[in-house]
Symmetry: C2
Subunit: 313 residues, 2 copies
Amino acid sequence: MLGEFELIRRYFTPSALPAQVITGVGDDCAVLRLPPGCDMAISVDTQVCGVHFPAEADAASLASRVLRCAASDLAAMGAEPLGFTLALTLPQADEQWLQAFASGLQQAAADLRCPLVGGDTTKGPLTLSVQVHGSVPAGAALLRSGAQPGDEVWVSGTLGDGAAALALLQGRLAVDAAAGAYLHSRFYQPAIDFPLALALRGMAHSCIDVSDGLLADLGHICHASGVAARIRQADLPLSAHWRAAAGDTQALQWALAGGDDYRLCFTAAPQHHAALQALGASCIGDISAGSGIVVVDARGVPCEITATGFRHF
Amino acid sequence: MLGEFELIRRYFTPSALPAQVITGVGDDCAVLRLPPGCDMAISVDTQVCGVHFPAEADAASLASRVLRCAASDLAAMGAEPLGFTLALTLPQADEQWLQAFASGLQQAAADLRCPLVGGDTTKGPLTLSVQVHGSVPAGAALLRSGAQPGDEVWVSGTLGDGAAALALLQGRLAVDAAAGAYLHSRFYQPAIDFPLALALRGMAHSCIDVSDGLLADLGHICHASGVAARIRQADLPLSAHWRAAAGDTQALQWALAGGDDYRLCFTAAPQHHAALQALGASCIGDISAGSGIVVVDARGVPCEITATGFRHF
């Protein structure tokens, strides 16, 4: 039987570490060095077998997904990755599973430039908990609480892909092979757009990543900032890949409340409109005094909203 | 049913945050500020219901134990606590359990001056994962790899208490009420000696916390430093509370291989002997060229070692 120390040595000891990692895997703590004048941003994301993924899920894909989902929170703060830790709870040390998991993790870590620096392995029901660490210049973190009346509301990429992918994986959506490949990749390799996130530091007043669904997450911004938002339904960016198969009503529902998109939703003053458009973001609405969110149709008439995003418990 | 956001708001939102916490619970990331010239030390510790503690364990005690066990790794690096995150996986949102857990967590956080700054709550088998963050002046972290031939080997506090406490909790040891109270406290409120740990920065060549057992943990120092160690059995500091009840052979076994003590084991040049003694540490042996650990009796004759410390898997 593979022991804990050997397991860590064999699967979770990177060969080379970047300069910010003073001490990596193998001591009581990892030690990270920040660039001068920077604060450290920290977020943890846990995924549980049977709750967040099925037992038969591909280990490499799981590793990619849990690291990318956690890194999405760094992007939402305008923070640049420094490194991550992994708390891995396993029912048994299955070497084939571990090999695939470690390989998916290494690939995602390389893609995100976010090295594994430490962790803990324990015996128990399969649970993956990834904590990411990033650096952000002191005072420059993109908070949920900075939205101002007059701001425009933006999102990066397309919305609803996470929910469409889940429907596909659960057999509730049928699409062609190209769309299937697109959705599979969006689910297991969500693209975390760090170049955009870092560019937002000087422009965005508030930012969040869309993990619970646009309405829920923009709702967090509105609540934390004490403002209201208006969303123009016609301007929501939807992927053509699955839209025709799902139908317009379902597509809109997923875009507003689907969750798991790992896109950025942010607000910025209108003076940055052209720059943000050039960065590929979509302007979907605006912020005003008040509270709550209204979604309006192409004529400006409010739509009824029944979905409120994904919640645990 | 209590929702995830309400659960966090009600039980895991501290009322006041110290100056190093720029952003606490409630945004995409927590943001921590380090003192100038300092690196960040990071460690994660996971405890699983049915593996590390029984389902009926007191929630407040569990909270205290998991935070203190994680903080022990900061002390072992000579790092000062900045804050911690909690990844909490729960089968259901039981308010009575959560109330007790949050209260135990708050008390331990206050004792250790290590505030809760963020986390994640998920549904699933009960699993507690705590990640601690501390600051240490650049280059001053106490590593496992710095032990030098000629160093003395030291431990803080007494050894074997963790194993004796486990034996008591499992009905394998009978002691009087005072010893029972002592062992219960050592198990659920292990004392993390940060004043000693910070004092070691200028003195110790290497350091580790005794979590897997003295032989296993000192073995990590020897392996990482490329040195050998000799331990004087007669100098091992044992608590009188349970020693008579357990007998000398069992006491020695627990002190060498018991685990869960959360004391510091460190090495330092002999010039610091008096200073370290004044700090309450016990000198138990010395470091030489070579590899491996030998335990000698009062006449200097090597004893046979059969125990090798606790391992997962």
